[in-house]
Symmetry: C2
Subunit: 241 residues, 2 copies
């Protein structure tokens, strides 16, 4: 369900982590998808259990959530990657046009950026001359500094979105497994809580390790989010159910 | 459910959009949360409808999903923002230490970055001298250029995550409303599909407008993702239910 999501939108950190762990990126996507996938299906199953005494129904609702969530994440992610890429390209085209048609204005903007880093006077003149000597270089500089945009990798993002979605699907099956085995729905809830608790701690810890956070803390946080979500869903469902 | 999520992790575009629409950022968070919130609760409700003939059960499962999803998104987002901020601070501390203890190595790295922008020889010397004259400026430059990190705003991210989560919750109530009114579950599904279809198109279009994409295309895509997710959930649930 993407606790990661709301925030990654706000910082460029994802990019950095990506570069540091390029070779283990698929592993990272799988772990992120699974850690997220465990949370909502687990909470939903707990909530439905509070309201009805049918394991089959819990499994049905759980599977519906998992498939819907995976499609929303995978396809939605793919489309968002495509439009991010298009956005970058259109800004890049605009920047090329500005460099072409309003070079003096762009040079002024370039000087302002350089002034922020302590470059003024003749020093700034020579840097402006060097950067603006090559249009591609100039546009690259403006894209990064003026607009704060990094070139998205059009190949990587869809693969990554699909990997996260698939991992979400598989991760979601973990809390559902005890219900799938049949038997009493309350017993299944207890087993699901134990299995998912262990999985949340483990995947949270691995996620922390891969993204540079403290594994213990990350494991505890993932566990906490899953536990609170499930608790709230259970409470709300017993009230309405 | 965050189709946006998987991708925003991959590009820095969020930052940029943020700057362009700083004054309308709350509006943007609300729209993004709602557009996402419509998708999975709608699909889940459709799926449960395929399996059981009880509107009360659909509402219970739907509410469990919404509350679990909102908590996962809000609390998870808040925690992820906090660890992003900590990660930035620890990298910044390391960079300060490197500038202090290995200034020659850091100057070499600075020269390599400048060479990428066409600055060599004496020009590069004067730029290196200007930037490295001020430690804060030097570290800022290395954070941005060597590590590709932008300073996260520790105040903004949690507010934004909470706004998106609340909007997810409210957005999720839209597809559930027809079921809440009671009556035949099949009728409710039809009404939910119409209401949610219109809402997906509208919020998708507004989302496109606010994030710089084509509103028509964005509306159609949001609609498509919601439709496919609901279709798949319905199909899977009728198979298992």
């Amino acid at each position: 369900m993407g606790g990661e999501r709301a925030v990654r939108a706000k910082s460029g950190t994802g990019e950095h982590v990506e570069r540091h762990f390029l070779n283990s990126q698929t592993v990272r996507d799988v772990v992120i998808g699974m850690a997220d996938g465990l949370t909502v299906p687990f909470a939903l199953a707990a909530g439905v259990t509070a309201a009805v005494a049918s394991t089959r129904l819990v499994v049905t609702a759980g599977l519906a959530e998992i498939v819907a969530g995976s499609i929303a994440m995978g396809l939605g992610g793919y489309l968002a990657a495509k439009s991010d890429h298009e956005h970058f390209q259109s800004e890049e085209r605009r920047e090329y046009a500005e460099v072409e048609k309003l070079p003096e204005q762009e040079r002024r903007e370039l000087r302002e950026i350089l002034a922020d880093y302590g470059l003024r006077g003749r020093e700034a003149d020579s840097v402006v001359a060097a950067i603006s000597a090559d249009k591609k270089r100039w546009v690259d500089f403006m894209m990064r500094f003026e607009l704060g945009l990094e070139k998205p990798d059009p190949k990587r993002a869809p693969v990554s979105a699909a990997t996260i979605a698939a991992a979400y699907f598989v991760g979601g099956l973990i809390p559902l497994a005890p219900y799938m085995l049949g038997g009493d729905v309350r017993d299944a809830l207890v087993h699901s809580t134990i299995v998912t608790g262990v999985a949340l701690l483990s995947f949270g810890a691995v996620k922390g390790k891969l993204t540079g956070a403290d594994p213990l803390k990350s494991g505890a946080q993932t566990f906490l989010v899953g536990g609170l979500a499930a608790g709230a869903a259970y409470w709300l469902a017993s009230f309405f159910g």
